[in-house]
Symmetry: C2
Subunit: 498 residues, 2 copies
C-alpha cells in the first residue's frame, strides 16, 4: 500500500462514518420531533441495523491494518492526518476490544432500557427499572476493562467522556466546590427571596416561538445553518459545521424554561457551527468533549444569559413579545427572578448555584455503583440521603429522585461530571476574557459578537484538533475550580446582599 | 449452505436494505421539511455514501449466489419467500448489469441535474438544462439495455415503473382515451363555466392546517402512524406499514390546492398503511407499482374527493373552518368549482378531465426522446406543439412548459404514464365496488370505511406479494380503459349539462 492510497482510504473511512452518523441523527431527529407516536419500532429496526453496519465497517481488520500502516509513518503526516489516525486508533482499539456479541447485546439492552426507564419513571416504580439498571452497570464495569484495563473501572468510564479526568481529579474538584457552595447556599437561604411569580404567568407558545427566533438572532445563530425544533427534552444535534439543530420545549406557565433552553442549546450550536472546515467529515469534526461542550452551553446560558447586562439588553424586546405578562416587571426584577436560588429536586431545572450539587449526588452514586460498593437496589436510599445532605431537601418519590434522568438508561455512566466541569471551565474562560477585552459593554448593548469571537478563536474552531485538556488550557490557562467558586460567591453576594 | 441459513441471510439482507432505505427517507424528509436552507451539501455527502454502501451490499457476488441457491430450491419455499427471491433476483440482475462506475456517475449526474433544473426553471432557461438532459437521456437509453436488452429502450424503461406495460399497450390506451376525452373537452368548453372565484378567497394556513387534520380523520388515517408535514411539493413517504408521512403545501389564495393534496397523498398513505405485516422489512413491502399507487391516490382524490356525496358530507364541517370564506357557498357550488374543466399549463393543477392529456404530452415526448427520433434541443418546440394539439393552448414559456416537472431531472423516464394508468384503474375499481356494495350511501355520510375496506382487501394488503398486473386484475377484472372514459363522460355530462 502506498501512503497516498492509504490517505485516500483514511478519508473514505471517515466520510462513511460521517454518513452513518448523519443517518442515525436524521432518524433520531425525526423520532423526537415530528414522527407519529407509534412508529418507534420500525425506526428501532433501522437504527439497530445501521449501528451494526457501522460497527462492521469500523471494526474490520483492514481498518486496523490501515491505521497501523499510517501510524508507523506518522512523522510524514501533517498534523490534521496525524490527529485523525491517533483518534481513530483509539476508537478502533476500544471498539475491537469489545466482543461483537457483547456489543450487540448491549445495543439491544440500552434500546430496551430506555423504554423500561420511561415506564418506571411514569409509574414511579424503581423496582421495574432495577434489573435493567443492574445489567447496565455490569456491562459498563466490563466495558471499562475493555476501554482501559490499567484504570479503575469508573476512571476508565470518566475518561471516555472527558479524557484525562479521573476520580482523584474529580474528588478534589467537587470537594473544593462543595466546601464553598454549601456555606454559600446556607447564607443565601437565610436571606429574603426575590419575587419570581411573574415567570409563571401564561406565556403562549406562539409568542415564545417568536421569542426563540429573537434569541437565536441575538446569539448570532445563522438560521440558514441552524434550525430549531420542539422536543420533550431540549437537545442539540449536529450533522456538520454547516447544519446544526437545536430543540426546545415550550411550557406556557414558565417563560424561563424554554428561554434558557434556547440559550443553552444555542451555546452548543455556536460551538459546532464554529468548528473549522478542515475537520469536517472526519473523526475530528464535532466538539472535543462533553465538558468542553457544556462549558460553551453553560457559558451562554448562565455567564451571559443570566447576567444583568444581557437581561437589560434584551428586556425591552422581550416586553414586546410579552407585553401584558411583563408590564409590571423591570429588567432588574427579571434578573433576580431567573437567578433565584432554591434547592430543588430536578437537576435540569436547578439554579446556577445548586446545579453542581445535583451533579455531585450522581457522581457519588456512580462512583460507588461502578466501584461495586453500592448495590443497585440501594440507589434510591443513597440518592435520597445525598439530596438531604447536599441540598437539604427530602425526596418524595423516585420519579423526582433517582429516576429523573435518562442518562443511565442510555448506558451513560461518567457523563454527569462534565456538566459541572463545563460550568467551572466557563467561569475561568470568562475571567480570562474579561482580562483581554471589554466583555460587558457590548453585551449590555445586546452585542455578543466579541464574546463569540473570543470563544470561537480559543475553543470553537479546533473541534477535535486539540485534546480536551489542551482546549481547556488554551481558553482557561491552568484550570482552577476556585475561580468558579469565586464567581459564584461574587454573583450571589451581589444578588442576595451577603 | 443449508436452506435454513440461506433463509436467515435472505431476511437479513432485506432488513439491511430496509435500514438503508429508512436512512435515506429520514434524510430526505428532513431536507424537504425542516432542514435549514443552506444545509444541502452535507446531506448530499451522506446520501451519496449511503447509496454507495447500499449498492455495495446488494451487488456483492455472494448475494447473487444466495439468490441462485434459493431459486434452485424455490419449490421448497413458501409463497412469501419465493416472491422475495424472485423480486430480489430481478433487482440484483438489473443492478449488477449496470457497471459500478456508470452507476456512481449517474448518481452524481442526477444529483447535479436536480440543481440545474431548479435554476433553469427559475430563470426560464431551457438551454441551461439541455446538456444535462442530453446526458440523462443517453444514460437512460444505455440503462434500458441493461434492464432488458430484448426490449426497445423505452419499453424497458416503462417496464421498470409498471411491469408488463409497454408502448404497444400505452399507445392503445392513450389513443382510446384521447379519442373520447378530446371531443368531450370540446363539448365542455362550449358550455357556461361554473363560478370558482370563492376558491381564491384568503384561506389562512392555520385554518387549513386544522382542515387537513379533519380530512385525515375522514380518510381514516391513524395519526399515531401517519404524520403530515409541509413541503414545496406534496409527497408521501413510507418507512413501513406503521409509519407513513404525507406532506402538503398551503396556498392561502387557493383552498382546493392543499385540500386535494391531502386527499391524494392520503390515498397513497392508506395503501402503505394497509399492507400486511408479513411483508414488512422485505423487498415486498411498499406499494407494488407506481400505477397501482396512483390508482389509490387518485381514487381518493377524484373518484371520492371530487364527488358530490363526499363534498356534501364534509361541507358543513368545512364551513366551520372557513366560516367567512364559504358563507355564501353551497356544497353543490363547491362541487362544481373543484370540477371546473379548464385546459391549463400545469399538470399538477389540472382538472380530472384534462389531466390525462398532460400525461400524454410527456409520453409522446419521452417515447421519441428515448427512441432517438427527437433531439433534446427540440423538446420545447415539440412540447408546445402537443399542448396546442391536445389541450388547445399556447405555452408562453418553458418554465410553465417542458421545465415544469422534476421527473426528468431525477432521471425518471417512463414514469408519467403511471399517473394516467392509475386514474383508469381507479375508475374500474369504482365500477366493481359499486357492483358489490353500497358505495355512495356511506360516503354521503362521510363514512369511507366501506370504500377503504374494499380497497384494503383487493389492493392494499398485498404490497408486493402479487405482480402489479395481478393486483389490477384482482381489483379491476380485465382492464378496459373505456370504463374510465365512460366515467368521465358521465361525470362531465352531469356537471356541464351535455
Amino acid at each position: 500500500m502506498e501512503q497516498k492510497e492509504a490517505l485516500a482510504k483514511l478519508a473514505e473511512l471517515q466520510k462513511k462514518l460521517y454518513a452513518y452518523q448523519a443517518a442515525d441523527s436524521a432518524l433520531y431527529l425525526d423520532g423526537t420531533t415530528v414522527a407519529p407516536k407509534d412508529t418507534a419500532e420500525g425506526r428501532g429496526v433501522a437504527l439497530g441495523i445501521l449501528a451494526g453496519e457501522r460497527h462492521k465497517l469500523f471494526s474490520a481488520p483492514e481498518v486496523g491494518r490501515l491505521l497501523d500502516f499510517l501510524w508507523e509513518r506518522k512523522d510524514e503526516l501533517d498534523q490534521l492526518r496525524c490527529r485523525q489516525v491517533e483518534e481513530l486508533r483509539r476508537s478502533y482499539a476500544q471498539l475491537t476490544r469489545i466482543p461483537a456479541d457483547e456489543y450487540m447485546e448491549y445495543a439491544v439492552l440500552t434500546n430496551e432500557a430506555s423504554d423500561v426507564w420511561h415506564r418506571a419513571k411514569e409509574r414511579d416504580d424503581f423496582e421495574l427499572f432495577r434489573p435493567v439498571l443492574e445489567k447496565l452497570v455490569a456491562f459498563n464495569v466490563k466495558f471499562a476493562g475493555y476501554y482501559d484495563s490499567t484504570k479503575l473501572p469508573y476512571d476508565a468510564l470518566l475518561n471516555e467522556y472527558e479524557r484525562g479526568v479521573d476520580m482523584a481529579y474529580l474528588d478534589q474538584f467537587f470537594s473544593t466546590l462543595r466546601g464553598r457552595i454549601v456555606p454559600l447556599l446556607r447564607a443565601v437561604m437565610e436571606k429574603e427571596q426575590p419575587d419570581d411569580s411573574f415567570l409563571r404567568r401564561r406565556y403562549p407558545a406562539e409568542s415564545q416561538r417568536k421569542f426563540s427566533d429573537y434569541l437565536m438572532e441575538v446569539l448570532g445563530l445563522d438560521r440558514a445553518h441552524c434550525g430549531i425544533g420542539e422536543t420533550e427534552h431540549p437537545y442539540t444535534l449536529e450533522f456538520n459545521n454547516k447544519d446544526v439543530r437545536i430543540t426546545t420545549h415550550y411550557h406556557e406557565e414558565d417563560v424561563g424554561n424554554s428561554m434558557y433552553s434556547v440559550i443553552h442549546e444555542g451555546g452548543h450550536a455556536k460551538y459546532e457551527l464554529g468548528i473549522c472546515d478542515e475537520v469536517q467529515y472526519t473523526c475530528l469534526a464535532g466538539g472535543v468533549s462533553m465538558g468542553v461542550h457544556e462549558s460553551q452551553s453553560r457559558f451562554y446560558e448562565n455567564l451571559i444569559g443570566r447576567s444583568l447586562p444581557f437581561i437589560r439588553a434584551i428586556f425591552p424586546k422581550m416586553k414586546e413579545f410579552f407585553p401584558e405578562q411583563l408590564s409590571d416587571v423591570t429588567a432588574e426584577q427579571f434578573y433576580r427572578a431567573v437567578n433565584k436560588v432554591q434547592p430543588s429536586l430536578i437537576r435540569t431545572e436547578a439554579d446556577e448555584l445548586t446545579y453542581c450539587l445535583h451533579v455531585m449526588v450522581r457522581y457519588e452514586i456512580e462512583k460507588q455503583l461502578i466501584g461495586g460498593t453500592l448495590a443497585v437496589a440501594d440507589v434510591p436510599a443513597a440518592w435520597n440521603r445525598l439530596y438531604k445532605e447536599y441540598l437539604g431537601i427530602e425526596v418524595p418519590d423516585d420519579r423526582s429522585g433517582c429516576l429523573q434522568d435518562s442518562h443511565w438508561s442510555g448506558g451513560a455512566f461518567g457523563y454527569f461530571p462534565s456538566y459541572a466541569l463545563g460550568s467551572a471551565y466557563g467561569a475561568q474562560m470568562l475571567k480570562n476574557m474579561e482580562g483581554e477585552m471589554d466583555v460587558w459593554g457590548p453585551v449590555s448593548r445586546g452585542d455578543l459578537s466579541g464574546v463569540s469571537g473570543w470563544l470561537g478563536e480559543k475553543v470553537h474552531q479546533f473541534g477535535g484538533l486539540l485534546e480536551p485538556a489542551d482546549v481547556v488550557k488554551n481558553a482557561c490557562g491552568e484550570f482552577d475550580p476556585a475561580v468558579f467558586a469565586e464567581y459564584l460567591e461574587k454573583k450571589y453576594a451581589d444578588l442576595y446582599g451577603l
